[in-house]
């Protein structure tokens, strides 16, 4: 099945999670189990983790990182470390967990913690293709970290061959802190 996600302005929404659920649960560790830090970026920046999966945060940079999350689904903090911390972080609640580094403000990662095995992440055009259980009425869920409210959920969704379009309300956000480039002089407001 294919789902097209757009925001309230009909703009495609990339990096959104599209998921259908028929009640089946995938085992812990079935999806991603490790979120590394490389070149001061999360790798991968978007990950899907099966609920209950302990996830490693291996630091592959020479610099230390201080990975944290204040997300309600999983709040944690791995203080300044090098290498792979001995204790993995177990995500035992479904939801959206945003992760950052207290040292590098631009570092930003999203972890979708789910149970259903049927899921996909939208591409740059906001399109996600995923497998779905045939002939069943399922729940369709679309998540995004900037969503206003609890995201999109349709419980009596019948997957088919046709693409489904989902509109998701997003919050206005400020631009994320960017990686510092060369130091620029202060910008003056002259007439």
């Amino acid at each position: 099945m294919t789902v097209q996600v757009v925001d309230q302005y009909e703009q495609p929404v990339p990096n959104a999670l599209v998921m259908v659920s028929d009640g089946s649960v995938m085992p812990a560790g079935a999806a991603n189990t490790s979120i590394g830090q490389k070149n001061a970026e999360f790798d991968p920046p978007i990950s899907v983790v099966s609920r209950g999966t302990p996830v490693d945060f291996p630091n592959r940079d020479r610099a230390r990182h201080h990975v944290y999350s204040f997300s309600p689904a999983r709040s944690f903090e791995i203080e300044l470390y090098k290498g792979t911390p001995s204790e993995p972080i177990t995500f035992d609640k479904t939801g959206i967990v945003t992760i950052g580094c207290n040292v590098h403000d631009w570092m930003y990662g999203v972890v979708y913690v789910i149970e259903s095995p049927y899921y996909a992440i939208t591409d740059e055009s906001g399109v996600a293709s995923l497998d779905a259980p045939d002939g069943k009425t399922v729940a369709l869920t679309v998540w995004h970290p900037d969503q206003a409210g609890d995201g999109y959920t349709k419980t009596d969704y019948s997957p088919g061959n046709t693409a489904t379009s989902v509109a998701l309300n997003l919050r206005a956000t400020a631009p994320r802190p960017s990686r510092p480039g060369p130091i620029k002089p202060p910008k003056h407001r002259q007439r």
Partner: protein, 781 residues
């Protein structure tokens, strides 16, 4: 002659005025130029200051915003703060916000969660819901949202927004500074310019470093204009230069930078004061200098002026002392020359005024003075003095026959003799014409007579002039003071009367006799009365008819003038006509008689009485060239034809000046009047002369007629005269017909007209009319 403009200003004042005026003008021009330059340079410096202040302001304001931004960013990135936000630990957040607000001195510090569920404010005033919405809208719509001006609850803030990431965006921190007096004051301290903040939305002045009085006027300033140029406006009592700049990109608020003109021109003011002092000092000095200079010019001029006034006042004695060699010295020298010239001319004028130009003898003007002196001396010393009037005989003849040059030479010669013959103390004066006066001091009548006798021969010796020998003789009259007169005028008049008596009697000298003057004066009074009588029509005309004996017709009447003096009774015509002739009034009298007789003729004609009139003319009338015109005029005035008027002239009158008389008679004849020759036989006219006269009638003198009845000789004369006249084509009138015999004889001789008591005496017009009626009745048959 040169002329000068009269001016009320003296020379000194004018010199002063010119010098001081020039100095003032040049100084004022210099002062104005310097001040204008200085002012403009001070002004441009002030403008530069404003521009500089404006750049500093922009720099400071932006730098400040950037610093605030940075300081808020520190909070936004604080892990503890993020942690508190994540855990929604409201109290921790609030304290962190307050702490940060105090640290950076902001007026507003708010956290707003991204899901709009949670807010916390670190500010005195709790923001309202609407404020957050507004902030969020601004933050979302403005890409460059770190720097905006937002009005919250009517108070404008400069807002810096900082997102909080944890690590997704969890909210905003708003940090705000009120655009109020405090900020304005801070900016003033940094820029040295007064600062005001104005909101574009409503033109509100939210803050200003100005005093309230000035601040009230800030809203009047057009900050849009002030964006590009300096705007001059009145703030409170100060004229102020203002420049503006936008505080944020959307032009929602402007900062206005003010410089009082007074402060900008402070240096100019100081310079102005200094220059004014210099000006005043220079002016005083120049006044002093000009005063000295004008003194040096005008003092000698005033001195010359005083000298000129002295000369004008008649002081010709004291010359001006010349001590200078310059133009003024030359002027003074000229004054001296002028002074001498004036003195000489005045002397010559005085001499000319008191002396006769021809003989150089004292003139009449001097005589009065000399008389006074002589009388005073005579009174004081009890000595008489004599006034001797000397008049040349037949001087007119000399003038007429030998010319005026000779005449003048005679006068000079006589004058010279007189001067030589009298003593030093005596006065010889020429009174005019050929009349001289001698005042003989201390001289009685006898002495004077002896003196005249003594000098007689020398005085009358023939004069030789231009090889012409001229006999001169004089008539002299003598009057003695105080015997003959008690005052100068009388003395001279009486000497004159005596002189005329001498001339009349053809003797060399007459002494004044008592009473002569009175008779003379009486005559003069009578002349006056006569003139008055003519003017007042107080004369009357009598008319005596001339009868044609063959048919008793009245040919015409002779008008005869009569005068009855109001006091002295009847004055005989011979007497007053002679008076009129002597006094030059005969013309008046003749005119009156002519006018009255023609008027009467007209009156008669209007009453159907045809009466022609004859009027007697005087010998002097014949010398008057204007007479014919006047006669014509009178005839015209009364509308009478000239042929009705007959004019009678005596034979002797014609003979006096035959040439002019004939000429006048011809003119009279030309206008149409008829002419008679009167009193024929008494004159000495020749037949040739008689023949020339344009007369139509000849009147035989009544002396012949009256005596011819008894005197055969006269009868012969009358008869032959009548024959003669007839032979010459003249008609004849016989006057003095007073008896029947004479009438018969005259009729026998063929005399055309008879006039006399036998017919009628001269009658008034009324009596004549009665007589005429009677006469016509008698001879009606």
């Amino acid at each position: 002659m040169a002329s000068f403009n009269k001016t009320s200003l003296g020379l000194r004042a004018r010199v002063l005025l010119v010098i001081v005026g020039l100095l003032i003008v040049s100084q004022v021009v210099a002062l104005v130029a310097v001040l204008a330059t200085t002012r403009s340079s001070a002004m441009s410096r002030a403008l530069d200051d404003v521009e500089l202040g404006r750049r500093i302001f922009a720099e400071v304001f932006d730098t400040r915003a950037a610093q605030l931004d940075n300081s808020v960013q520190l909070l936004a990135r604080d892990f503890g703060f993020k942690s508190a936000v994540a855990s929604r630990d409201e109290e921790t957040i609030r304290l962190a916000l307050v702490n940060q607000a105090q640290r950076i001195g902001s007026d507003l510090m708010i956290f707003q969660s991204i899901d709009d569920q949670f807010m916390s404010a670190g500010m005195v005033r709790e923001p309202e819901r609407a404020d957050y919405d507004h902030l969020l809208n601004v933050a979302i719509s403005d890409n460059d949202s770190s720097h905006v001006v937002v009005a919250l609850g009517g108070v404008p803030y400069q807002i810096v927004a900082q997102p909080v990431f944890a690590p997704g965006q969890v909210g905003w921190i708003w940090v705000g500074f009120e655009l109020g007096d405090q900020l304005a004051n801070q900016m003033r301290d940094l820029t040295s310019l007064d600062v005001s903040f104005v909101l574009s939305e409503n033109g509100q002045v939210s803050g200003s470093s100005l005093r309230p009085a000035e601040r009230a006027d800030v809203a009047q300033i057009d900050y849009d204009d002030a964006l590009t140029e300096v705007v001059t406006s009145q703030l409170g009592e100060d004229t102020t230069l203002t420049r503006s700049l936008p505080l944020v990109g959307d032009d929602s608020a402007h900062a206005l930078l003010h410089v009082p003109l007074a402060r900008a021109l402070q240096s100019y003011r100081t310079l102005k004061l200094q220059l004014s002092v210099v000006f005043v000092v220079a002016l005083l000095l120049s006044l002093l200098f000009a005063s000295k200079l004008s003194d040096s010019i005008t003092r000698p001029v005033l001195w010359l002026l005083a000298a000129a006034r002295r000369i004008g006042g008649g002081d010709y004695e004291r010359p001006i002392e010349v001590t200078r060699g310059d133009e003024l010295g030359q002027l003074a020298e000229t004054f001296n020359v002028m002074q001498r010239g004036i003195a000489e001319r005045e002397e010559s004028i005085r001499h000319a005024a008191s002396h006769d130009a021809l003989t150089d003898l004292p003139n009449r003007a001097v005589v009065d003075d000399r008389l006074e002196h002589a009388m005073a001396r005579a009174r004081r010393f009890g000595q008489p003095f004599s006034a001797l009037m000397v008049d040349l005989n037949r001087f007119k003849e000399i003038n007429d026959t030998l010319g005026h040059t000779i005449g003048d030479a005679v006068l000079v010669g006589v004058a010279q003799r007189l001067r030589e013959l009298v003593r030093e103390v005596d006065t010889v004066a020429r009174l005019g014409g050929d009349e001289f006066l001698l005042l003989l001091d201390d001289c009685s009548a006898d002495q004077a007579r002896a003196f005249v006798h003594r000098i007689q021969d020398q005085l009358t010796a023939p004069l030789s002039i231009d090889n012409v020998t001229i006999n001169v003789s004089m008539s002299m009259g003598l009057a003695v003071f105080p015997e003959d007169a008690e005052d100068g005028a009388s003395l001279l008049r009486r000497a004159d009367i005596a002189m005329y008596a001498a001339k009349e009697q053809q003797v060399p000298l007459r002494l004044y006799e008592k009473g002569q003057d009175e008779a003379h004066l009486q005559k003069l009074a009578l002349v006056n009365d006569l003139v008055e009588a003519v003017a007042n029509d107080a004369l009357i005309l009598n008319y005596q008819p001339k009868v044609r004996p063959d048919d008793h017709e009245i040919a015409y009447v002779e008008a005869l003038v009569r005068w009855t003096h109001p006091e002295r009774g009847v004055i005989f015509p011979d007497q007053f006509i002679e008076l009129a002739e002597e006094s030059g009034n005969i013309g008046l009298l003749t005119d009156w008689v002519l006018n009255e007789s023609v008027r009467q003729m007209r009156e008669w004609q209007d009453r159907n009485l045809k009466v022609d009139v004859a009027v007697n003319l005087s010998a002097l009338d014949l010398l008057d060239e204007d007479l014919p015109a006047r006669v014509a005029d009178i005839l015209k005035r009364h509308g009478m034809p000239a042929s009705r008027l007959n004019l009678e002239v005596t034979e002797s009158a014609v003979m006096t000046d035959a040439g002019r008389a004939v000429s006048t008679l011809k003119s009279l004849r030309d206008i149409g009047v008829t002419l008679s020759i009167d009193d024929f036989g008494t004159g000495h006219s020749s037949l040739a002369q008689l023949k020339q006269l344009p007369v139509q009638v000849l009147k035989i003198d009544k002396s012949f007629v009256m005596s011819m009845a008894n005197n055969h000789d006269d009868e012969v004369i009358v008869r032959s005269t009548i024959e003669l006249a007839h032979n010459m084509g003249l008609k004849v009138v016989a006057e003095g017909v007073d008896n029947e015999r004479s009438r018969d004889l005259l009729i026998e001789f063929g005399c055309e007209y008879l006039q006399g008591y036998f017919y009628a005496k001269p009658l008034t017009s009324t009596d004549y009319e009665q007589w005429l009626q009677q006469h016509l009745n008698e001879h009606a048959a």
